[in-house]
Symmetry: C2
Amino acid sequence: MAFPTPGKPVRGSRSGQPIMALFDLLGRSWAMGIIWHLSAGPGTFRALQEYCETISPTTLNKRIKELIQARMVTKTLEGYALTETGEELFKMLFPLGKWAKDWAQNLKENK
Amino acid sequence: MAFPTPGKPVRGSRSGQPIMALFDLLGRSWAMGIIWHLSAGPGTFRALQEYCETISPTTLNKRIKELIQARMVTKTLEGYALTETGEELFKMLFPLGKWAKDWAQNLKENK
DNA sequence: AGCTTTGCTACACTAAATGTAGTGAAAGAT
DNA sequence: ATCTTTCACTACATTTAGTGTAGCAAAGCT
């Protein structure tokens, strides 16, 4: 399966705008979770599988291949790891961790 | 369909950690695209449908309901709009726009 | 009254993800 | 050397998510 390539139509957009290709890529199940996990250091297929709990090996394998094609992940001797591009992306995703907690708290209080 | 609720098991994670609920929510097709579009100002159902090009009304309707439940979107007189929470989220997503362009450029150059 | 726009719903079809099982290769123990 | 584990997947049947086309009721305009 092809990964969402900027400049080409992607799932959800014919325009091929980079941001839409990125949203398509990150929007696939567990893509952000994988990046989140690898930000803590390289991990094996099994480690990712365990971390992701409910991911099927089929999907994990697809997702890894897509992230490699997108140059966000590489295979190293210690397992899969973020590339420099992947690290950059993680740095932008990072604030979401803290924010998500506040969001969760707020939802809880005002339900 | 339920929206990913922090504290409960979500698609892709049984832990219910807020970040995972958020990733599940944003990871559904077009969720980030909708937020991205609404950041420019309120929009009607039809406007969103046009912007999203390939979204089906079925999915758009589901996504809107989920985002409303998650307190990121509300219905106003001028159409659907981001809540304050939604705006906050957008501000964190915003840098991705610029970054996506560089990423696309880089992919193009080194293929 | 008739025409348009809006915000949907219905439904059949396709694509994506899951869950369980199993396979081939490499490393470690006996 | 063979036996067992561990690892990185692949196969495949089932379930869930998303698409695409059609259409409908309510509101606004003329």
